[in-house]
Each structure stands twice: as structure tokens, then as C-alpha cells.
Assembly symmetry: C2
Homo-oligomer: 394 residues x 2
């Protein structure tokens, strides 16, 4: 009775221990990836839920189709086309159980065991583990302030075997908070064309811009149907509902639909209907603006505290949106050591190694989340962290 090779390669990571949150009300968490609960449009959602129970409960609770509730697909397509030019004429859209499922199913339909995925280093651990769960060979591409290093990417596309997917979070990247420049986006698309590989553009945060100008998505420049765009309602409505989507060429959406059918038949239908109704009857853009205002205030507060309290030896990103700030200590220091000490002082952070294609690497980095904690917690938590951090880096 042995487990499959693919799942055996997914080892429980040492970082988990650090991340396990003691049940302590005094603990301040900068380690989460959660949106602020007071950003959820609770009263609107509650009212819509009541009307669905009154008027359409039987169909909302019955089986649905695997590609998703048609009105939700339509309204999402319309919004993504009109606002972001994301759907080309050969493209289609599938509703998924959160953005995570779009990533996992893209891995499933494209990767044979041993195929290579090129990803930003560091990157979102949930996606890296999805690739690992299909036996992928993960190769990290270093990043700078403009995103993935396209020179290294170009080299790796030549030297690595069986590259199938370039995985990127171009906007407000997790964990760095970095937004990839337009030039880089174009170059990555060119390189993907040249080497005939898929780009998985993971964009759960791209509508959460609280400063600066939008940069076009890679998908909006995709003319040959090689970009899979994964999006989510988790960060603009609520994550617990597990409603996300993928936009891609019709042939790819067909295969994702087959994968979806065997994965969970369809996404919770009640919340697909509720999301549709919200998008149809309420001003989602005004809501997103409110969320962005909230996150700008929190990010500014966090950066203000860090500037005041952190040792000047520690650098950090100044994101224009999203949920995260990434910090870098001088070379030789270890984010995992800091995370462990910080936890003793009742503040949690995620060490950089958690986001690496090579998890055993020692990284002088750590990630801070600013969306979940209150302004008060940010002030207090950065104070606690600064004490430990400044002692550590000397």
C-alpha cells in the first residue's frame, strides 16, 4: 500500500511548524494571505442569499454544469472583456472553485511527469505545490523590481528540458508585491511564442490597485491562445465562497471542463448565483474602490512604521496594490530564523524560503501581509517585529 510518486514528492514542509498559529488572542499575524473581513459586502450578500432561498432555492441547490453557471460565465466574460480586454474571439471562460483550482487543473491538463515549469523565484507556494503534485520539475527565475528576469528566462527556455508552462503572477506578485513592467510582459509573451510554451498568468490581485497606473495583462496581448488567465472573486468579494475562473482558448477551456467534471463536478451553485446577482445589481467597481482605499491606508501605515522602526539594513518593497510587502535582510541572514524568533514575540511572518522553487534554500527574505491586521495591530506588530529584527541583523 504505497502512495503515488507524485504525492510522495510533496513533503510536509518545515515551515508549516513555524506557521502553525497558537490559539493566542494577543498574537498578531502578518503571515496570512487573507483579505480583510470588513471588506466583504456582507449585507448585500445576505440580502441576495435571502432572495435566492425565496425564489430559486430548488435550482440553486441542485446539480449544475461543470463549466459553471451560464449567467456568471457571461457577466464575468463581459466584465473581463470590456474592462481589461481579456477575452479574445477564440477564448472562453470556466468557473472554478477559487483561483487555486484553475492552477491545479492547468497543471493537470498540460504537465506530464518530469515536465518543467518556469516560475518566478520566489512565488506562490500553493501554485508551486500544485505543480509538484503532478511531478513537475520546478525551475525558479530570479526577479527584480520589474518582475521576472527575462534574460535568465530566455536562457532557461533553451537549456531546460520539456518546458511546458511559464507561471507568473505579474501584478502585485505574491510574495514580493512587485508588478511586472509592460516591456517584460511583452518579452515573456514573445519568448513563449518562440518556444511554444503556455503562460499561466495568475492574477488574483490585479483589481486591487491602490496607487499608480494599470499595466495591461499578458492575456490581453495574447493573439495565439497560449495564455491561461486565472482570476478570482476571493479578493474582491470573499474567499470562503471559493469562486474563481480561468479565461483561455476554447480548446484549453474544453480540457479544463473535462478536468473540472472529474474534480468536483461543479463549483457551489448557490454562491455562483449569488455572485452573479451581486455583479448584476450592485456596483462592484465602487466596492473594489472601497477595498483599495482600505488597503492603501493599511499598506501606508505598515510602510510608515517600517521606515520608522526597521534597521536601515533591511530593504522592502512598496507595492501599488495587492496584499503583501516583501522584506530583505542583508545576505547571510535567514528569514526562517527571524520567523521563529518573531513568533516567540507574538508576531507571525512567512520566511522567504516558503516561496522558493528550492525549499531548502536559505533566504534572507520574509513576507508581510497588510490586508488582514487592523491599523492598531499593524502599529503594534511592526513594533514587536522591529525589536526582534534589529537585534538579529545588528
Amino acid at each position: 500500500m504505497e502512495f503515488s510518486q507524485r504525492i510522495s514528492s510533496l513533503k510536509p514542509s518545515a515551515i508549516r511548524e513555524i506557521l502553525k498559529m497558537p490559539n493566542d488572542p494577543d498574537l498578531i499575524s502578518f503571515a496570512a494571505g487573507n483579505p480583510a473581513p470588513d471588506s466583504f459586502p456582507v449585507s448585500a450578500m445576505g440580502r441576495i442569499a435571502a432572495t435566492i432561498f425565496e425564489s430559486r432555492a430548488a435550482s440553486a441547490l441542485q446539480y449544475g454544469v461543470s463549466e459553471g453557471y451560464t449567467p456568471l460565465r457571461d457577466i464575468t466574460k463581459k466584465r473581463m472583456s470590456e474592462k481589461y480586454n481579456i477575452l479574445g474571439e477564440n477564448d472562453d471562460l470556466i468557473i472554478t472553485s477559487g483561483g487555486q483550482q484553475a492552477i491545479e487543473m492547468t497543471a493537470k491538463i498540460f504537465l506530464n511527469e518530469g515536465d518543467t515549469v518556469l516560475c518566478e523565484d520566489p512565488s506562490f507556494v500553493g501554485a508551486l505545490n500544485a505543480f509538484r503534485s503532478y511531478g513537475a520539475n520546478l525551475v525558479g527565475i530570479p526577479m527584480d523590481d520589474e518582475g521576472m528576469d527575462v534574460e535568465v528566462l530566455s536562457q532557461k527556455l533553451k537549456t531546460e528540458k520539456n518546458v511546458k508552462i511559464i507561471y507568473t503572477i505579474p501584478t502585485f506578485q505574491n510574495p514580493t508585491g512587485t508588478t511586472m513592467s509592460l516591456e517584460r510582459r511583452k518579452r515573456i509573451l514573445e519568448l513563449a511564442e518562440e518556444h511554444d510554451v503556455i503562460i499561466l498568468e495568475d492574477s488574483p490581485y490585479f483589481e486591487l490597485r491602490f496607487r499608480g497606473e494599470d499595466v495591461p495583462t499578458i492575456k490581453s496581448m495574447d493573439t495565439n491562445g497560449r495564455v491561461v488567465f486565472s482570476g478570482s472573486y476571493s479578493k474582491i468579494l470573499a474567499p470562503g465562497i471559493r469562486v474563481g475562473f480561468a479565461c483561455a482558448d476554447k480548446n484549453i477551456i474544453n480540457k479544463l471542463t473535462v478536468a473540472k467534471q472529474v474534480s468536483d463536478v461543479h463549483t457551489n451553485l448557490f454562491f455562483q448565483m449569488l455572485t452573479t446577482e451581486y455583479l448584476d445589481k450592485f456596483d462592484v467597481d465602487a466596492h473594489i474602490k472601497k477595498v483599495c482605499d482600505m488597503y492603501r491606508t493599511k499598506a501606508d501605515k505598515m510602510i510608515e512604521c517600517m521606515e520608522r522602526e526597521f534597521s536601515p539594513k533591511v530593504r522592502f518593497t512598496r507595492p501599488e496594490g495587492g496584499l503583501f510587502i516583501s522584506c530583505t535582510m542583508p545576505e547571510g541572514f535567514d528569514g526562517a530564523v527571524l520567523a521563529s524568533r518573531a513568533k516567540e514575540h507574538k508576531v507571525t511572518i512567512v520566511p522567504g524560503c516558503a516561496f522558493s522553487a528550492d525549499e531548502s534554500k536559505v533566504c534572507p527574505t520574509f513576507r508581510l501581509n497588510f490586508s488582514l491586521p487592523s491599523l492598531e495591530e499593524i502599529e503594534k506588530g511592526i513594533g514587536r517585529l522591529a525589536k526582534v529584527l534589529n537585534e538579529y541583523v545588528g
Copy 2:
């Protein structure tokens, strides 16, 4: 840009065309696998939903943990232990996005490409496709009135290479409606022990018994942690909520949790809370009894009509529960031909070949669903079907 081998082997089946439902209000469907919408406890669910929105919306809409909402896991464990003796002391339980996800993830954590799955022939196509989507070699084991033929099973365990899983729906099997005898259940468990393979006991219908005596689950006799039991709230509450579960040895549940994390992070949290509240505050056993009464009436009606109107050349099962009746025409006739002709006469059925490990096989069988249609539709639909059927078999 090529798809993975595993997904390329999942071909869109010819049967799909037959199953595509024209949007015709006069069409009567016996092809579905849906529970009756008037069996959903809508008013109770609506009231619970309102209280969750009032009192706990922020946590119900936030991210949850991958193994599932703890109170739902606890109440499900308690119920499955006390009523059915399903959880042993080394066992644990994970909440899944419907029973389908329990099957897909079990395939993912156990199957290497090319590994063999022994399954009942015919069997549930959603499970067969989940196995196919991991490159499994499917080998069908014939069935009789007592379930899987254990002599053939014993042989195949000796002759087939790399058998990893025996997949069975022992109670009110899909599509046959057959319930496996206690003796066979014991024998299958013995054989699994002898050959060190996993049994995946898929039981979405086992609480829907409307006649006869319960037969113990295989899981309740499992002393060595080799049975994965997959269950579901789809058929006793509602399927659109996508809430199911798997019970198994703790080591298996740990691996399923890793797979769940990368698959969709967690199941819709709001409906996990709602289900918990329903189980806690309402009498679920009384509700299940009501559903069983409803289905007994429908099944009896369908069998009464079939006895009256079908040619005596056609045999059919008399299930003691579940959703399905299986019919067998004389050898040489083809369920797919009948399904296609029936559709022209505005009644849909599923041909037996759809449930075969070898989809190209010609089967003289077809499946009828009695839970979804009304008594009136059953009367009318069996009338239409009888006309086509009797003409076909002569």
C-alpha cells in the same frame, strides 16, 4: 503546445451527444442522477443561512482550513461512528467538495500512471473518468445480483499488474441499483488484505434505503486501514452545495489533505457551516426517512409501470434504495440505439455502455433514474419508452 497524456486519454464520449438535453419542456428525463428538488430541506436551510449572515458572516466568508470546518468534521465523525461504526480509532475524516472530489483525490494520491483499478462493470462514469484522468488501467469485474463477482476479482488480482485500488459502490450501486451481500463484502476485504490493495468504498446512496435491511459497510469491517469510505451530503441534503467527505486511516487523510490544499484550498465554508447547523439543530434522520418514503413511492410506481408495459423480454433490477433501476434487453440489442430512439420520442435514458470500463463495448442495458421525475412523468415517460423498447426488442 500539447496536452498531457493523462488528459488526452479522456476522450469526449459519443454518449454525450445522446445525453445532451434539448431545451424542450415536454421531454421527460430518466437520464439524470439528480435527487428530487422537493426533497431539499429548503426552508430550514434558508433560516440557517439567514442566521449565519446575521451572526457569523465574516468567518463564514473567510478562508477556512483544508481538512474542513472542524465542527462539521466532528459531527460527521460522530454520526458515522455511532450509526454505522465507520470510523476506527486510527481513522480520520476530511470534508471534500462532493463525493466526486474524494474519488478524484484518492486516485491522485494512490495511482501512478498505468496502475490498475479493478471496478464493477458497469460502474459510475464520474469515478471511471477520474481514474482515467490519472492514466489508470481500468479492469471491469462482472456483477450479479449480489454485486461484484469475487471469483473473477480474485483471478484479476493475481493476473493484472500493479493493482492499487478496488473501486466499489456496494450499496444501491450506480447504475445497477444492486446491493452487495455481506458475504461478498467480507470476501472483497479479505482479498484486498491478501493482495495489499486499497478499497475505495463509494457510498453516496447508502442512507437512502427504502426497503429491506442495512448491510454493514466494508469500512466498518476494516481493521487494517485499507478502506477509503467516500460519503456525501448531496443525496440527503442537496448536491449543489458540493459537500462530501472521506473517512480513512489518518495517514491517508493526511495525504488527501495535501491534495485538497492544492486542489481548491477548502470546500465552500458557508455551506459547511450551514450543514453543521442543520445536523446539529434539525432531525436529519427524520428528514432522510421522508426522502426514502418519497423515493420508495417513485420506484414502486416506475416498477409497476415497467411490469405493465415493458416486453417480458426485458429484465430489470428491483433496488431497495438509491436512485436507479437498471434494465437488460436480450443479448445482441444495444442500449445506445434504444437511447437514441427514445430521445426522438422525448424520453431520455442512459445506455449501459456509458458505465463500462471499456466504453466501446456494445451493452444491451440501460439505466433509469426515478428520483427526479414526478409520479406523473414516470407514468407518461415509461409509456413512451415502452413503445420504443417493445418495437425494438420485438
